[in-house]
C-alpha cells in the first residue's frame, strides 16, 4: 500500500504517527481518504473507521510512518477534503492507543501448556481451542501485540487478524470539541 515518493523531502526522523480524523459519514468519504494516500504515496500502517458519539460523524484512526514535514503535509492534504471535519495529530499528545488481534496458532497437546503460559503473561484470552490449534484474543498497544506475535511465531501461526489501532486523548477535553474558526476553508 505504500511507496516512497520521489519528491518528499524525507530529511526528518520517520516515526509512527497517529492521527485522529473526523469525517462526515457520507458515501465515498472513505474512498476519498484512501485515494489521497494512494495518490500521494503516504505510508499507511493502519486505518480504522467507526461511528462516534456524534450523529453523522465517523472517526478514523490512522497510523503512518512519516517525518515531521510529511506529517504536516498529510494533515494539510486531509483538510483539502471537503468531508473532513477535523484532524488531530495525537502522536505527541498524552493519549491511549489500543489494537486488538485474533491469533490462531498451531497447538498440539504437547506444546499447549507453553502457549497458554505466554498468553497468560500477555493477558491474552483464549477464545477457541481445537485439537491441533488454539485461538487467542489480545488487546493492547501495537507493540504489545507485536511482542506476543513474535513469541508465538515459532509454534506456527495459522491465521491472524489485527484491527489496527484506535486512539483517544487522555483527560476530560474531547478531541475535536472546538468550535469553528475563521481559517481559510478548504484551501
Amino acid at each position: 500500500m505504500s511507496h516512497d515518493s520521489a519528491f518528499a523531502p524525507s530529511i526528518g526522523r520517520r516515526i509512527a504517527r497517529t492521527f485522529i480524523v473526523y469525517v462526515q459519514d457520507r458515501p465515498g468519504t472513505l474512498n476519498r481518504v484512501v485515494s489521497l494516500f494512494r495518490r500521494r504515496g503516504f505510508n499507511i500502517d493502519s486505518l480504522t473507521v467507526g461511528r462516534t458519539e456524534r450523529e453523522g460523524v465517523s472517526r478514523i484512526t490512522l497510523v503512518v510512518q512519516s517525518d515531521e514535514d510529511t506529517a504536516r503535509r498529510l494533515e494539510a492534504n486531509f483538510y483539502k477534503l471537503v468531508n473532513v471535519l477535523e484532524v488531530h495529530d495525537v502522536t505527541h499528545a498524552p493519549s491511549v492507543s489500543r489494537e486488538m488481534a485474533f491469533i490462531k496458532v498451531r497447538a498440539g497437546a504437547e506444546r499447549r501448556g507453553e502457549i497458554l503460559q505466554l498468553c497468560e503473561t500477555f493477558r491474552a484470552r483464549v477464545v477457541d481451542v481445537a485439537p491441533e490449534s488454539l485461538t487467542a484474543e489480545i488487546t493492547g498497544t501495537s507493540e504489545k501485540l507485536d511482542g506476543l506475535i513474535e513469541l508465538l511465531r515459532p509454534f506456527g501461526i495459522l491465521e491472524m487478524v489485527r484491527t489496527g489501532a484506535v486512539a483517544m486523548a487522555r483527560g476530560t477535553a474531547a478531541q475535536g470539541s472546538g468550535g469553528p474558526s475563521e481559517g481559510d476553508l478548504a484551501a
Binding site: Q24, Y79, K80, E86, E182, G183, D184, A187
Partner: protein
C-alpha cells in the same frame, strides 16, 4: 405567466416565513445558477440531462452549444480564467461526462474554479450498468476539488451552492455535480436563503505571527542576491498591485512562472521574465546564484526547478502560499506564510526595508547581455518565416495589449518568451496539465468574460486539429476571435525532444494537415495564409478588421527549436542554448 410570477416570488422570498414555491429539480438548478451570478454556460445535451435542457428557455442564462464536451469544460475554464468568476459547463451522463474529463483535469492542475453539471441515470438504476451509466464521481474523484452525486431534488439547491463555494474558496478548483434524472424531474418546495454557505468542518486558523513577519523581513533585508518568484496565485488573489509595491520597495527583481506571466508588468525594470525549462537563461542563472527566493503563489513545479538536488542551493526560501499542502512539498521553506497572498504581502510591506540592490541587478544585466547575443530576434529572417519572429511581431502589432490564449507546444513557449504581458489575466494557457486543444475553446469562453477586448489564439497545427470543431461554435455564436495558427508541419515540441534526446529520429511527429484556409472558410470564417515575414503585419491587420473570427495560417520553419532548454530533471543552469549569432551564421545556407 403564472410560473414566472411564482419564480419572481421565490426570488423575493428570502425571509424564512415566505411560502416556498414548488419547482422541479431542473428549474431549481437554473434558478440557483442565476442567483450565483452565472451569465453563460457551455454544454451539450443528451438523454440523462434532458429535463435540465427543457427548463433552460425560462432562464436568462445564455447557453453555448459546443461541438465536443471537452470544449465545454475548456470554455468554462477560459471564462473563469478571464473573469475570475466560476465557469459552468453541462453534459449528459456516460460519454458526455467522460468527454469532460480532460477539461476538468486541466482546470484542476491550474486551480481554476469550475462547476461541472452532469446528468446521471435515475437513482433507481444507479449501479445497474444502465444505458449511459458511468461512475463519473468515481472517475473525477482525483481531478476535482470535490464532487457530489445528487439523487433527490431536495438536495439540489444546497449542493449547487456548496459546489460554488468549494470551487472558489481557498485554492480554487473544479467541482462536479452529478444529478440523477429523477432528481431533475421531481417537484419539490424551493426556498432561497441568502445565508452564505458554510462548508462543513473546522479549518485551522492561519494567522501570521509577528515572529514570522520578523523572520521573513530580516531575511529579505539582509539578502544580497534576492529574487521574487511570481506565480499564478498572485493573479488569483488579485495581488498584482501589492506585489508591485513590494518589489519596488525592496528593489528585488521579479521572475515569473509560465502561469504568473502578466501578474507583474513585463516592461517594468525589475521584471526578469520567465524562469524554468524554457525560461530566460539569465533568469535561471540568477536563480542558481541567488541567496534568497521569495516565492509568491507558486508551487516549485518540476518544470520550474529542474533537478531539485542542485536547485538554488545557496538560497533561503520564503514561501507565501494559500494552500498549506504546497509548503515543503518540493522545496523546504525557511519561512512559510500561509493564507491569502494579498494579506501576507500587506503584512510584510511595512516590515521590509527600502533597498536598491545595485550590484545584484548589475550582475543580472551582465547575464542578460550574454543571452541577447543569442536571441532569435537578432537573427535575420532571410526570406524565411520563423515562429519566434511571428510572436514578436504579433506582440508589437497589438502593442502588447491583447488577451492571448495559447495552446501547448513550441508556439506556447515562444509566446511566453516574446509576447510581453503587462497585466494580469492577459495570458491564458494550460500550464499544469499541458493540454493540447485547450486554446480555441478556452478563448471562446474568455470572449464571454471579456466581450470588448482583442483576443488572439496562438495554436500549433497539432493542437488546433484536436478541437478545431469549435470553429463552428464561433460561427454559430457570432464570436470574434483572431487565430494565429503556427503551422510548422510537426508536433514541434515532441520533434524538438527527438532532435535533442532521441538521435533526431522523428517518429510520429511529422504531421499532415488539411488546407487550413479552406477549412476555416468552410466554416464561414475569414482566413489567410502567411509565408513570409513581410506579410505578417498586413495579415494581422486584416484579421483584426474582419468582423468575425479570422484564422491566419503562418507557415513557419519546420525545425526551429525553443531555446534555452533545461532537459527534464537536469540542473537548472545546465541549459541547452541557442547557438550564438556567429555560430548560427556559419550554418546559414
Amino acid at each position: 405567466m403564472e410560473q414566472i410570477a411564482e419564480k419572481q416570488e421565490a426570488r423575493r422570498g428570502t425571509s424564512p416565513q415566505s411560502t416556498p414555491v414548488r419547482m422541479s429539480g431542473a428549474q431549481i438548478l437554473w434558478e440557483v445558477l442565476e442567483r450565483e451570478g452565472v451569465e453563460v454556460v457551455f454544454g451539450y445535451p443528451g438523454g440523462a440531462i434532458m429535463p435540465v435542457y427543457d427548463a433552460l428557455p425560462a432562464s436568462p442564462i445564455h447557453h453555448v452549444l459546443v461541438r465536443h464536451e471537452q470544449g465545454a469544460a475548456h470554455m468554462a475554464d477560459g471564462y473563469a480564467r478571464a473573469s475570475g468568476k466560476v465557469g459552468v459547463c453541462v453534459a449528459t451522463s456516460g460519454p458526455g461526462a467522460t468527454n469532460l474529463v480532460t477539461g476538468i483535469a486541466t482546470a484542476m492542475l491550474d486551480s481554476v474554479p469550475l462547476v461541472c453539471i452532469t446528468g446521471q441515470v435515475s437513482s433507481t438504476l444507479l449501479g445497474s450498468d444502465a444505458f449511459q451509466e458511468i461512475d463519473i464521481t468515481g472517475i473525477t474523484l482525483p481531478i476535482t476539488k470535490h464532487n457530489y452525486l445528487v439523487t433527490r431534488a431536495e438536495d439540489l439547491a444546497h449542493s449547487i451552492r456548496e459546489a460554488f463555494e468549494v470551487a472558489r474558496s481557498g485554492r480554487p478548483g473544479p467541482v462536479l455535480v452529478d444529478i440523477t434524472k429523477d432528481a431533475q424531474q421531481a417537484t419539490v418546495p424551493f426556498r432561497w436563503s441568502d445565508e452564505p454557505v458554510r462548508l462543513p468542518g473546522v479549518r485551522p486558523a492561519r494567522r501570521l505571527t509577528h515572529e514570522q513577519i520578523e523572520r521573513a523581513a530580516s531575511l529579505i533585508n539582509q539578502a544580497k542576491r534576492p529574487l521574487i518568484f511570481c506565480g499564478h496565485g498572485v493573479i488569483k488573489a488579485g495581488a498584482s498591485e501589492l506585489l508591485l509595491r513590494f518589489a519596488e520597495k525592496t528593489g528585488i527583481p521579479v521572475a515569473s512562472t509560465l502561469l504568473g506571466l502578466g501578474a507583474f508588468p513585463a516592461s517594468h525594470e525589475l521584471s526578469l521574465g520567465m524562469m524554468g525549462m524554457h525560461g530566460e537563461a539569465w533568469v535561471n542563472h540568477a536563480v542558481q546564484e541567488s541567496d534568497l527566493l521569495v516565492a509568491v503563489g507558486m508551487r516549485f513545479d518540476d518544470r520550474v526547478t529542474g533537478n531539485l538536488k542542485n536547485y538554488a542551493t545557496a538560497a533561503r526560501k520564503i514561501h507565501l502560499e494559500v494552500d498549506p499542502a504546497e509548503v515543503n512539498k518540493n522545496v523546504k521553506a525557511d519561512v512559510a506564510m500561509l493564507g491569502d497572498l494579498g494579506r501576507s504581502l500587506e503584512r510584510l510591506l511595512p516590515a521590509v526595508a527600502q533597498r536598491e540592490h545595485q550590484d545584484w541587478r548589475a550582475r543580472i544585466r551582465a547575464l542578460r547581455e550574454d543571452s541577447a547575443s543569442r536571441d532569435v530576434q537578432g537573427i535575420p529572417h532571410q526570406g524565411r518565416l520563423r515562429a519566434p519572429h511571428v510572436l514578436h511581431d504579433l506582440w508589437r502589432l497589438t502593442r502588447g495589449e491583447a488577451l492571448v490564449v495559447t495552446d501547448v507546444g513550441q508556439h506556447q513557449m515562444w509566446e511566453a518568451q516574446y509576447y510581453r504581458h503587462e497585466r494580469p489575466r492577459s495570458l491564458l494557457t494550460s500550464g499544469g496539465l499541458g493540454t493540447m486543444g485547450f486554446a480555441l475553446p478556452a478563448a471562446i469562453g474568455a470572449r464571454f468574460a471579456r466581450p470588448d477586448e482583442e483576443i488572439w489564439v496562438v495554436v500549433g497545427d497539432g493542437g488546433f486539429q484536436m478541437t478545431a470543431c469549435e470553429l463552428i461554435t464561433c460561427a454559430q455564436e457570432g464570436i470574434k476571435l483572431n487565430v494565429a495558427l503556427i503551422n510548422n508541419g510537426y508536433l514541434g515540441m515532441v520533434r524538438q525532444w527527438q532532435e535533442f534526446f532521441y538521435g533526431g529520429r522523428y517518429v510520429a511527429t511529422p504531421l499532415k494537415s488539411p488546407d487550413f484556409v479552406k477549412l476555416a472558410e468552410a466554416h464561414g470564417l475569414t482566413a489567410m495564409r502567411v509565408t513570409t515575414r513581410e506579410q505578417v503585419a498586413s495579415a494581422v491587420d486584416a484579421a483584426r478588421k474582419a468582423p468575425g473570427t479570422a484564422v491566419i495560417e503562418f507557415c513557419v520553419e519546420g525545425e526551429e527549436a525553443v531555446y534555452p532548454m533545461v532537459p527534464a530533471n537536469a540542473d537548472l543552469h545546465a541549459m541547452i542554448r541557442r547557438p550564438s549569432r556567429i555560430e548560427e551564421s556559419i550554418h546559414e545556407p
